[in-house]
Symmetry: C2
DNA sequence: TTGAAAGCGGTACCAG
DNA sequence: CTGGTACCGCTTTCAA
């Protein structure tokens, strides 16, 4: 803006390295990308110049020119709550091994639609995209499909994936846990989830709803009467919602003898509330969670829950993405990594 | 590769929109960036063309041309363990409001040095960079300094930050909790951390070491004798390490009456192990954690711990970054967001 | 094995 | 208010 402004950013460009090494820019490029095509002696001179100048290739320019960004976009609702953290970690690991980077987009349940998020991500011209949502607006689907890049939907198994999917059946998971509770002798089984989203939010917890649906289906199958569902509004922590949720559940259906919670955090709150009220767990009330969070296995809690392969989902998504990018045929477009009922003390 | 290869990616380019709207490319650019400078009628025509063609501006090209990427790199060790997840969330939120995106880099304790990670990140020409490490190699520091972009180190308060820092004093936190235990009448205080890193790993848990140092300093100040430290190797989950760590601690120093753990997960493991052994908590043994994880406050556990402003750290880092990018003067280069001792049942 | 030239898809700058 | 033109830093293609 004026003459005392800080010096403009100045990066060492490939041209500078070339000049220093007494070669042309393209030769520097070759040293970096196809070293075998450059005479050893020349290469060493260039490498020395790179070192001396501290040259870091500009991937923005490189991406534009080569039409390959080596960038993969991940779109999730939030990192907090630790549901997706392991998946992102797994993805990052797999991608780093192939020298690809991660572009992270979070919605935070903001009113910004997934559509806007997808557009923003595609603007970076990623080589692939990973979504934790299996439900999209028509416009979003269209953008994704026409982008011409591999798309992986994770954490669910959509019937009609945009492209590929890696996850497990949330519906079956809900069913399985409900059956497990039934097998343990329970007949009046409730469900506590963390309820509706704020106005304007996106699909929110579609996976949670699928599990709830599984619970409902199992109740019907087993002829256990109408569902007993409490959905706590978005206030306070998940643990607090679990505590409040159990209170509400018992108020409405005092004879409930088991609760399936939408996550381990919610379940922890429910267990706490039960203890507070002197309700014996699992004696009088069985409690089950979902996710097998770090704390679930701790003795003193021993939460019965559903273990899901979060890290593996990310790793597999990365593998699929890279395979497709290389043009390798991907036969299984939908990868079911399953889940596992972990039976502990509370149910 | 061959004639049956999939059609090459073809994006709608600005030129296409321009042609459809009967204007020049630069006018399309103006409609997108400075709409006020375009006549309403023209603008509407262009906007219609954008809609019709589903045009998504290429930010790669835009970044190269404008020398502004609107990308911020975050370099962390891992997302799992939920230590940094909230910080990344906070950062993402702040940045999204300013239409900036996040480039995520994780080390996963791999042998890839932070140096390599920094170079990779800088190659994307980010407008700023956030690091969860306050210790860097000379080369890394040099790269960061010469990049000419704002740099924020988070989760610690380095004496000599590369540029800016947002966090709290881990050393003081360690000291404060030790003093708290002392104030509660404890005199034989131990420390359980999750120990040494695998060979080739980076700085690992420098912050943990700082807390350990604070513990040591407090012991000396209070004249509580030599430190009793157990560092569990990297095997199994944090919770398991906590359980094993407590066992080791009690084996070496059976009369220990308090333990400060490097994280709430470790503390949870310690509490579990204590219960398993019939050791009364906090009667015979006080246990304190660090982090105030989601499960810490659950009744039935009531873990005494240190609460740290993870989300706020990310948000503030984002704010500083954006302010500096805008050229606004940033007076406080080091922002101490503090910590808080949360006194609950276990100590 | 090396280089020259022509873009990649936008934006800055200067005219009109 | 709109357009022409150069150019961002690298890679592709074609020649030598």
């Amino acid at each position: 803006m004026n003459d005392t402004a800080p010096p403009p950013r100045r990066w060492v460009a490939m041209q500078d390295v070339a000049a220093a090494a007494g070669v042309s820019a393209i030769t520097v490029s070759r040293v970096l990308r196809t070293p075998a095509k450059v005479r050893v002696e020349t290469r060493q001179r260039v490498e020395a110049a790179i070192q001396a100048l501290g040259y870091v290739p500009d991937r923005v320019a490189g991406s534009l020119s080569s039409r390959e960004s080596r960038l993969v976009a991940v779109l999730i609702s939030t990192l907090a709550g630790s549901i997706f953290a392991t998946t992102v970690d797994g993805l990052a690991q797999t991608l780093r091994a192939a020298d690809h980077q991660l572009l992270l987009g979070t919605t935070e349940y903001s009113s910004a639609s997934e559509e806007a998020l997808v557009a923003t991500a595609l603007g970076r011209r990623p080589d692939g995209i990973v979504l934790t949502s299996g439900e999209h607006t028509a416009a979003a689907r269209a953008m994704l499909a026409s982008a011409g890049i591999p798309v992986v939907e994770v954490w669910e198994l959509p019937e009609d994936p945009v492209d590929m999917a890696v996850g497990f059946s949330n519906l079956e998971a809900g069913q399985a846990m409900t059956r497990h509770l039934h097998a343990g002798g329970r007949r009046r089984i409730g469900f506590v989830g963390s309820g509706r989203l704020p106005v304007g939010a996106g699909d929110g917890d579609r996976r949670g709803r699928l599990r709830l649906q599984g619970y409902g289906a199992a109740l019907a199958d087993l002829d256990l009467g109408p569902p007993r569902v409490v959905r706590e509004p978005f206030e306070g922590s998940m643990v607090e919602r679990g505590a409040r949720g159990l209170a509400t559940l018992l108020e409405r259906w005092p004879d409930t003898d088991a609760v399936f919670c939408s996550s381990d955090s919610v379940a922890l709150g429910a267990v706490s509330e039960a203890r507070r009220r002197g309700i014996e767990v699992p004696g009088r009330l069985a409690i089950a969670g979902f996710g097998d969070f770090e704390f679930a296995g701790a003795s003193g809690l021993g939460l019965t829950t559903v273990r899901v392969p979060g890290h593996a989902i990310g790793a597999e998504a990365g593998r699929l993405l890279l395979a497709r990018k290389r043009g390798e045929p991907v036969d299984t477009r939908i990868v079911d990594l399953g889940f596992e009922i972990v039976r502990r003390a509370t149910a």
